[in-house]
Symmetry: D2
Subunit: 158 residues, 4 copies
Amino acid sequence: MRKRVVGVMGGHEHHPETEELAAEVGRRIAKNGWVMLNGGRNEGVMAASARGCREAGGFSVGLHPGDRHNRDVAPDLDLVIFTDMGFARNSPNVQSSDVVIALRGGTGTLSEVAYARTYGIPVVLLGFDDKGWFGDTVRRAKDIDEAFSMVKAILGGS
Amino acid sequence: MRKRVVGVMGGHEHHPETEELAAEVGRRIAKNGWVMLNGGRNEGVMAASARGCREAGGFSVGLHPGDRHNRDVAPDLDLVIFTDMGFARNSPNVQSSDVVIALRGGTGTLSEVAYARTYGIPVVLLGFDDKGWFGDTVRRAKDIDEAFSMVKAILGGS
Amino acid sequence: MRKRVVGVMGGHEHHPETEELAAEVGRRIAKNGWVMLNGGRNEGVMAASARGCREAGGFSVGLHPGDRHNRDVAPDLDLVIFTDMGFARNSPNVQSSDVVIALRGGTGTLSEVAYARTYGIPVVLLGFDDKGWFGDTVRRAKDIDEAFSMVKAILGGS
Amino acid sequence: MRKRVVGVMGGHEHHPETEELAAEVGRRIAKNGWVMLNGGRNEGVMAASARGCREAGGFSVGLHPGDRHNRDVAPDLDLVIFTDMGFARNSPNVQSSDVVIALRGGTGTLSEVAYARTYGIPVVLLGFDDKGWFGDTVRRAKDIDEAFSMVKAILGGS
């Protein structure tokens, strides 16, 4: 019964173009019937991808860095796991995803791409600039269509 | 869009009577439209509650102690978070639940009840013997009907 | 070259008698040449045991629940590990100790005693009331002299 | 009483030249009276830096990814913290260091440099190739002498 899980990583900064892309990523994950996993906060890529996922009727889970009293939670998430691990939650975020889509982000997102490499989890870069760091489990997509072709190939279809 | 989350805690030991109770707890959580959260392993209360939840068409998530290569995963779960934290995951398990139902278990379950007390999260004991340790956020149910009456009162209806 | 590590667990509440006992525990750990490990905060048993350990020239390490910006740090500690795990750090605290001395505490301390039981790490209760929960790896000391006799027996002598 | 803590990061792979450099880094940290912190395993940079630190009479602590039953522990460490967090321990490793020296390593070390950037902790690269990723809290040393000049400047002398 395990659902396929697609992790969406990216920055907390406000960046309209990236957020629109993140929302569309969320919508497409929902339409494919996969669970969307992100970092849980009510900012940037996290908030936008959760919104997109909800709009398309999908199921989303956020692995939040804070504890249960934290109020910086994306309101469109279906399920929030309060890891209370700070940025260390970047490790379980990646480990719990079957494939990761990395959007524009900073050093937090970099640590997630590094973990994905360490764990051998496929990553599709969609706007995240890897500056040559990464090897053959990291693919670079030129647009969202190519990104989802890559994800489907990785997940084995549908 | 946040779903209500009911955590189910209890031992990994094989104990038929407790497992049947755990399966029924899973079924009732599903029928109420809540998400069921447990510890993710393919043993005891964890495996049985996931099975019950699936039988009744619910959605279940397991916060697993191991990493993504671990194979001791309850097959009926919809979503598995590989925390890779060992027993420290007992803390996010509890923090991510709106209410906890504690079945028969050992010192692992005790640590979860202790965390629930620390965080102020309501606990319903259903077969778990608290031996007088706990205060007024811990209620003792005499059977599963009373347990779910308590959970509904805590969650505020339906 | 591994030093022996004695964990000191107990509450953050202000309780003069317990704090004086914690300071004496810290002094005796130092005099025995063991490393003292505690929870790192500048309160209750944590602050007092670090002070005692420093007074007697020992080495102490605190596994702090917060991140590096946290200012609630016992000033007498030699080394602070910022786990940024919240109360989940109770698990590595216990796992990193060869033996645990549990003083007066609440549900946080209870979770540590539960973890010690789970991991099979010996615990000496010195003022912590176990209310009958625990089995044969938990010993109950009537005073600090008996507590240290027990610790020395566990560690295999001075 | 807090000691200054210098984190030493780098790969677990066997690489004789890097290991000799790591041992010398450990010796110099010891001679400066700082605590050395590393990742705790009995391999590569971790084992070698612990050995160097011991040879020069220093104090070293390893934040190990495994639990207390793990046997892959560098034997020269004075203190081992069993975080039981897997690679997520890269976050507390960095947060608990006043400055990080990054030697040759792979994606694990990259995640640590990324965390150091996120947390604003100074990093001295000594053989680790950042490939242009990092900004002004990351300094690049041409040899071990320059590396320690940088560390001393960061720690404020002696």
